[in-house]
Symmetry: C2
Subunit: 210 residues, 2 copies
DNA sequence: AAGTGTGAACAAGTTCACAGCC
DNA sequence: GGCTGTGAACTTGTTCACACTT
């Protein structure tokens, strides 16, 4: 805890947590950095160093208590609490997001859905009403959420992000292909599958003989 | 071209390309690394250095020809050709993927859809038939694709990946929360929004007073 | 005057290797 | 004997700063 923790380390923690969570449910008591690394494709030294930023959770000669380490990571990542989420944009992608059980299962409660389309507004998705996007700002002011997931058409992504920022959302996950801006105190991630495909074709081209 | 090009550089190229593509369609003739950087939140030096791995595309005192640089990146990334894609798993997410116009628009042709559910097999999505997943292996052998997009339930992700690898798919985009393995000659990327949310809550926790 | 291309300086991130503990 | 925790060595990636070109 003394010095600044590298961002890459934070990004790997959820990966470790996911595996530990699985091992925990399989009733596994103890695990070594060796085993964790083999399963995740990461060196054991990397795992030990990453964890050492947060404390000394292992026992020499034994390894890590799965239960203990999972609990520590839960605490570090804030997964011992529930987080309130709004999904903005209920097209095909937004609907897939709103229906995905993996969010609720991991402590993320999707409490509000918004769209601009009159045919969608008022309808129900997984028992939640789709609300008019024009009410987003007022709703969030009355009853804030922690995280906004943006799945609107790209052209309006920045507008939605601005509204979320004004309403003091702390984190934004942008599924839109457009890159958006937010002040540094707001956590922002982009999910753009096309960029992944395009970096993969670079390699494909080379493997498949230019 | 002389030495090995860092992986991070390849990952940034599509980002640059996307912006250049937009500038090109706006009729912009010339752009500086300064401007590109400001738009993308990257330092100008970074952009110049990244591009310098591939050639000398700029003109001192002027900047880069938008048209020329876009064409170069297209060539480098292999976006001057079309790529054949199969989507495996046509649940809500798979359907969103199969219907997303952003893939076709960028040179990725989704030519085959597969699912295991009898109610889906034989149905049509955007004019493409959903085929039985048991035919995947044979189909790919007869008529290969370059890229597989996996959107099946997590438990069967590795099986599907193994089939794709056997059928000599060159790249796999895994939308499943399960981490899968593939030999190093196959390009593999994971899209897992839950991991993003979990690293964001780490920061949220700290900003929102522990 | 403006802006690239790039070696050299610097910063960040990873792996090594081993002392120390179980 | 086995495995953690961690400085130190190394590797990778980023930024600086300036010579050079238009």
């Amino acid at each position: 805890m003394p010095i600044e923790i590298p961002e890459v380390v934070i990004d790997r923690l959820p990966l470790y947590y996911r595996l530990l969570s699985r091992l925990e449910s399989e009733g596994r008591a103890v695990v070594s950095s060796q085993e964790l690394g083999a399963e995740l494709g990461v060196t054991p030294a990397q795992i030990r160093k990453d964890l050492s930023y947060f404390g000394r959770f292992g026992k020499q000669g034994r390894g890590y208590s799965v239960h203990r380490l999972a609990a520590e990571l839960r605490q570090i990542l804030g997964l011992d609490q529930r987080w309130r989420v709004a999904v903005i944009g209920i097209g095909r992608l937004g609907r897939a997001i709103a229906s995905y059980p993996g969010f609720e299962g991991q402590g993320f409660d999707i409490i509000w859905l918004y769209d601009a389309s009159p045919t969608l507004i008022g309808s129900e998705i997984e028992g939640r009403e789709v609300r008019d996007i024009s009410q987003l700002e007022g709703d969030l002011r009355a009853d804030p959420v922690d995280i906004g997931i943006v799945a609107v058409p790209g052209e309006v992504a920045q507008d939605v992000v601005d509204t979320l920022v004004d309403a003091h959302v702390g984190a934004i996950l942008n599924y839109t292909p457009n890159r958006v801006q937010a002040p540094p105190e707001v956590e922002l991630r982009h999910i753009n599958p096309v960029l992944f495909l395009q970096s993969m074709t670079y390699h494909l081209k080379r493997v498949r003989g230019v």
